[in-house]
Point group: C2
Chain length 301, copies 2
């Protein structure tokens, strides 16, 4: 496997290679010793789907800093497991009540709500297990840092907190700062943590880490703005999930706040800021991270 | 605070002191910076209730081995957070659909299903965060061991796996080995992990750790057998939850398998084995652990 970063032209090949690595690792790690029904639901939730954006951010960042590849692969899979668990729980009838995800029936449609609930719970636990191997594949002090970054980004101060703010925001007119604060938790925290986990696989200066944190924050917010744009401009078949959900659910979005054209322009500005943060990082091998930011901005789903 | 173990006569005082310590620590740690709605639901789920059996096992075992008190208190709270999250999710309509827990309305009755789901999710994350402090209150290699023990006990090979086996067992006639295998995961893994986390706060011989693991396994299974006995012999007011649920849900129990008298006798035998394991542990300060086993056996709820 290549550990060099790649320019825009070679990015699609790199992306497919890394997606395949992540798919294989997830298939190996989810979750061979679980009871049959639980293991099936966990694998259905995780395998054979998704852009793997968060794992790609971990891997690209780790490669940019010449970090430990074995730790990066575990971190990449751990963050994807957190993302996958959140989707399973989000899709439940008591939350978003979604029946379609990545073009397939959602986990509770396929396996029932009770098993979907447990599969989500067990995927979260497995994320931490992956970061705490006994086999020495992650140096102990690094394992601790990675697990800490993941826990902060996933919990009440991160993703789960943002989801709770989202629940409280239905039918409420949020101003842009409040909307951004919610999304920095709900989707931004885990995307930024992906970058920071990749960064943690090497020893960096505080300044470089801070610029990578900026990159992750700008990219994370851009991701959400693009998501809101796609929710009104793409169809369900392209998205692989139900389009138009936010408006139907009366949730505030960047499009409802700014209008479509202004939301698109805002996403571009955020991506420019992400690129600028990389340029000031002091790192020389940032091509793949630049390409990932463009991929986030130009994606169709 | 006392770190000596106590005999049976002083056990109730010790228990109340330690329960108060755990309550205070949980109140400090759950979850001051969370969004208001989520923080309220998390605190409601965790505070002011429960026997705190798992924390007491961690603390008693840590005191028996003269382990690090600060690490033990974090581990005690972490294991309670995992227990609390599992109760919140278990009580949801798609699982056990329980409206009463510890004599109060369950979390989803009080805060709605969506927030209950998120509160459970965030409590699980917080359990791992507690074990990964940046303040040096847990030595890094110990933090890693504690988080690993907790993850294994909580996930697909432990509690969540046992719950999935439980789901698959409704209306099924299980033989005793299958019933025990389910309960060793569903309730036993976390109870045993409580003992092992307490043990991990000091450096012990493999033989002593193995005997403590035996103690935890026997006590864990005894706890479940007593639970099944209480489900048919106590009323809802005493239990603080709905009595008679297992029979109503057509779930296999030790009572349905063995009959009431034989189930009671089996619990006694398991507790005898727990006591014997302590006697062979090579530890001299095991009075509190003995008293805890008796408490599990004689409890009324």
């Amino acid at each position: 496997m290549s550990t060099a970063t790649v320019d825009a032209a070679r990015f699609p090949v790199w992306r497919e290679q890394q997606q395949a690595r992540v798919e294989q690792a997830l298939s190996d790690w989810v979750s061979p010793t679980a009871p049959v029904n639980l293991g099936q639901a966990m694998r259905y939730a995780v395998l054979d789907g998704g852009k793997r954006l968060r794992p790609l951010l971990v891997l690209a960042c780790s490669q940019a800093v010449a970090g430990c590849p074995a730790a990066a692969l575990r971190a990449a899979c751990a963050v994807e497991l957190i993302h996958a668990y959140s989707l399973v729980h989000d899709d439940l009838p008591c939350m978003d009540n979604d029946v379609l995800r990545r073009g397939k029936p959602t986990v509770h449609v396929r396996y029932g709500q009770a098993l979907a609930l447990l599969a989500g719970d067990a995927l979260q636990t497995l994320a931490f297990e992956l970061l705490l191997p006994e086999d020495g594949s992650i140096e102990p002090s690094l394992a601790l840092v990675l697990a800490r970054l993941l826990a902060r980004a996933a919990g009440a101060d991160g993703m789960a907190g943002g989801q709770a703010q989202d629940l409280a925001s239905v039918g409420v007119k949020l101003e842009q700062p409040a909307l951004e604060a919610m999304h920095r938790r709900k989707t931004g925290a885990l995307l930024q943590a992906s970058v920071l986990m990749g960064a943690a696989t090497a020893t960096l200066s505080a300044a470089t880490t801070a610029r990578l944190a900026d990159y992750g924050a700008h990219l994370g917010l851009a991701f959400q703005v693009v998501d809101d744009v796609l929710d009104v401009s793409a169809d369900s078949a392209t998205l692989g999930k139900t389009a138009g959900k936010d408006a139907a659910d009366d949730k505030p979005t960047f499009v409802s706040l700014l209008g479509l054209a202004q939301a698109q322009a805002y996403a571009e500005r955020l991506l420019d800021q992400a690129h600028a943060a990389l340029q000031h990082s002091g790192l020389s091998q940032t091509d793949t991270l630049h390409a990932l930011a463009d991929w986030v901005g130009r994606r169709a789903h």
